[in-house]
């Protein structure tokens, strides 16, 4: 009889220990599957910003009035700048002119490498303080992008899609604005190819670093 009770008690203890292990296992599993706790920073996703009116995208503007360096200096040593009209008001236009080297004076040293264009392809012979579209319409110097876009359609399309031209500011326009370069920030209109530069910041091989195999010419 006492042996029987002992057996039952022993079985009960074994069953209890077994149950304890199963519970512990289930609890571990449950806690690992738990929903993200909003108090734990690593799992929280910040709420998106409240939809706000988008901030402006500002395109850098070229300075209003264009002046040309006369090559002379004033009493304080500052270069004397001359407005276009100062000379061009009284001179007849030269439609066949392609480069400053064909000129006897002024605009000397102006590097020109922009296809087959002549000066008056873009400059307005009726008003040298403005530019001229292909259809003869005058445009302000600050709106030169529309002039460039006449020939450089793919670049203009990419610019409008945001994949041409440098920019600073916010990718998220609901949180801040953006400043974009205009064409002539990077391209000199008279020789628009981006110039060669010396690279900055030469890399140093780090200790133990696996560099991609360097090839030499």
């Amino acid at each position: 009889m006492t042996r029987g009770i002992g057996k039952i008690a022993f079985g009960g203890i074994v069953a209890f220990i077994g149950l304890y292990f199963v519970t512990a296992l289930a609890w571990t599993w449950y806690s690992s599957e738990k929903r993200p706790d909003p108090d734990k920073p690593g799992q929280r996703i910040a709420e998106g910003p409240v939809p706000a009116p988008p901030h402006p995208v500002v395109i850098r503007q070229p300075d209003g009035k264009v002046m040309v360096d006369s090559g002379r200096r004033d009493a304080r040593g500052e270069p004397v700048m001359v407005a276009c009209a100062t000379c061009h008001d009284t001179r007849p236009p030269e439609p066949s002119l392609h480069s400053s080297s064909e000129l006897d004076e002024f605009h000397q040293g102006l590097t020109y490498a922009h296809g087959e264009l002549s000066c008056l392809s873009c400059h307005n012979a009726n008003d040298y303080d403005t530019l001229k579209l292909a259809n003869g319409q005058a445009v302000d110097f600050s709106a030169s992008m529309s002039l460039c876009a006449q020939c450089h359609g793919p670049q203009f399309r990419d610019y409008r899609n945001g994949s041409h031209g440098g920019m600073q500011g916010h990718w998220d326009l609901t949180r801040g604005g953006r400043t974009r370069n205009t064409c002539i920030d990077c391209h000199d209109p008279h020789h628009p190819a981006f110039p060669q530069v010396m690279p900055v910041f030469p890399p140093m091989p780090e200790r133990g670093e696996t560099l991609p195999h360097a090839h030499h010419e």
Binding site: D39, K40, P41, G42, Q43, R44, I45, A46, E47, G48, P49, P154, D158, N161, G162, S163, H164, G165, G166, M167, Q168, G169, H170, W171, D172, T174, R175, G176, R178, N181, C186, F194, Q196, V197, M198, P199, V200, F201, P202, P203, M204, E206, R207, G208, E209, T210, L211, P212, H213, A214, H215, H216
Partner: protein, 323 residues
């Protein structure tokens, strides 16, 4: 008592002046043994001596007991950030703000780079160096600009040590940084889960959890991870004080680090530093989940490709050429 009065006692091995015996203290055998043990101990001490020169700052108790970033409660994390700001002040002598920038709902970052426009000037790498508080002496940067021969797309054949006016007419230039893979091998190999992919696609490192085994560096097919061989040295007036826990705070020695798409900027809605530094506008950054974003327009309208597509890493970094 009689025993002790005779010489040095019976238990002593010298046995009252019989010094030349084999089992005596100064026997040839014992001297050789002693010499060998001394040499052994000296060799052992010498082998351990690099530990004495290991300059990693002493770990405070709080630092040692700090939990994994994802297990920190809000309060814990605030204390950790306070402590890290204090450490930065002590070690670098400048006031920094370390914030916990979290992903934004509905945002997954993507980056695209126009290889027709990139001229290889390395200004992106330089901007990264300063933005992310890299060690000055090693010129570390998360971006490596590869000079590639036209006709090859094999990044392993790219040359990083070019030093001539760029762009060279026979070459093109391919900056490579972390590709923020959707299937990141670096995350898979981490034995301690110190690196993981966040909801906005950025693969981050908990610098305080990393054990510095460098498995992730070996696993990354893009050579995008860097190791802090020593404590970064940065002049205090050059330190970028706008820092984030998972991003550009000054890393301790002996841990891995990587590009985070400047999450301390981009999670605030700003552009990454490398994009703003690019003088040619070759880089396009944005939200892949926004169908009107610039990055989506690039993917929709350009023939984009990813590096080492055959590995199945599914990068969030795209390259393209103009048509």
């Amino acid at each position: 008592m009689n025993d002790t009065s005779q010489g040095c006692g019976s238990n002593c091995s010298c046995k009252g002046g019989g010094g030349a015996r084999d089992d005596s203290l100064f026997s040839r055998r014992n001297l050789l043994k002693g010499g060998a043990m001394t040499l052994g101990a000296a060799a052992f001490a010498k082998a351990l001596s690099p530990l004495a020169h290991w300059t990693r700052e002493e770990t405070s108790v709080e630092e040692f007991l700090q939990k994994h970033y994802r297990e920190l409660t809000k309060i814990d994390l605030e204390l950790v950030l306070k402590r890290l700001e204090k450490d930065a002040k002590e070690n670098y002598g400048t006031d920094v703000t370390i914030t916990d920038h979290r992903p934004q709902k509905g945002v997954k970052f993507g980056y695209a780079l126009n290889l027709s426009i990139c001229i290889g000037c390395r200004r992106c790498a330089e901007a990264c160096h300063h933005e992310n508080n890299h060690d000055r002496a090693t010129s570390n940067s998360y971006i490596r600009v590869l000079e590639m021969t036209k006709g090859s797309m094999d990044m392993e054949k790219g040359n990083v040590h070019y030093d001539h006016p760029v762009p060279h007419p026979d070459r093109f230039y391919m900056p490579v940084q972390c590709q923020q893979c959707d299937n990141p091998p670096c995350v898979d190999v981490c034995p301690v889960e110190a690196t993981w992919k966040e909801e906005d696609g950025i693969v981050v490192v908990d610098y305080n959890w990393c054990i510095g085994c460098r498995y992730c560096e070996a696993a990354c097919p893009y050579h995008a991870r860097r190791f802090n061989w020593k404590k970064p040295v940065i002049p205090k007036d050059e330190i970028n004080p706008n820092q984030s826990y998972l991003s550009n705070r000054i890393r301790p020695q002996g841990v891995m680090e990587k590009c985070t798409f400047c999450l301390h900027r981009t999670r605030d809605g700003r552009m990454p530093a490398c994009l703003e530094a690019c003088p040619t506008g070759a880089r396009v950054f944005g939200n892949l989940l926004d169908p009107h974003s610039e990055i989506r327009k690039v993917i929709d309208t350009k023939r984009v490709f990813v590096l080492k597509e055959e590995l199945g890493t599914r990068p969030s970094f795209f390259y393209f050429f103009d048509e």
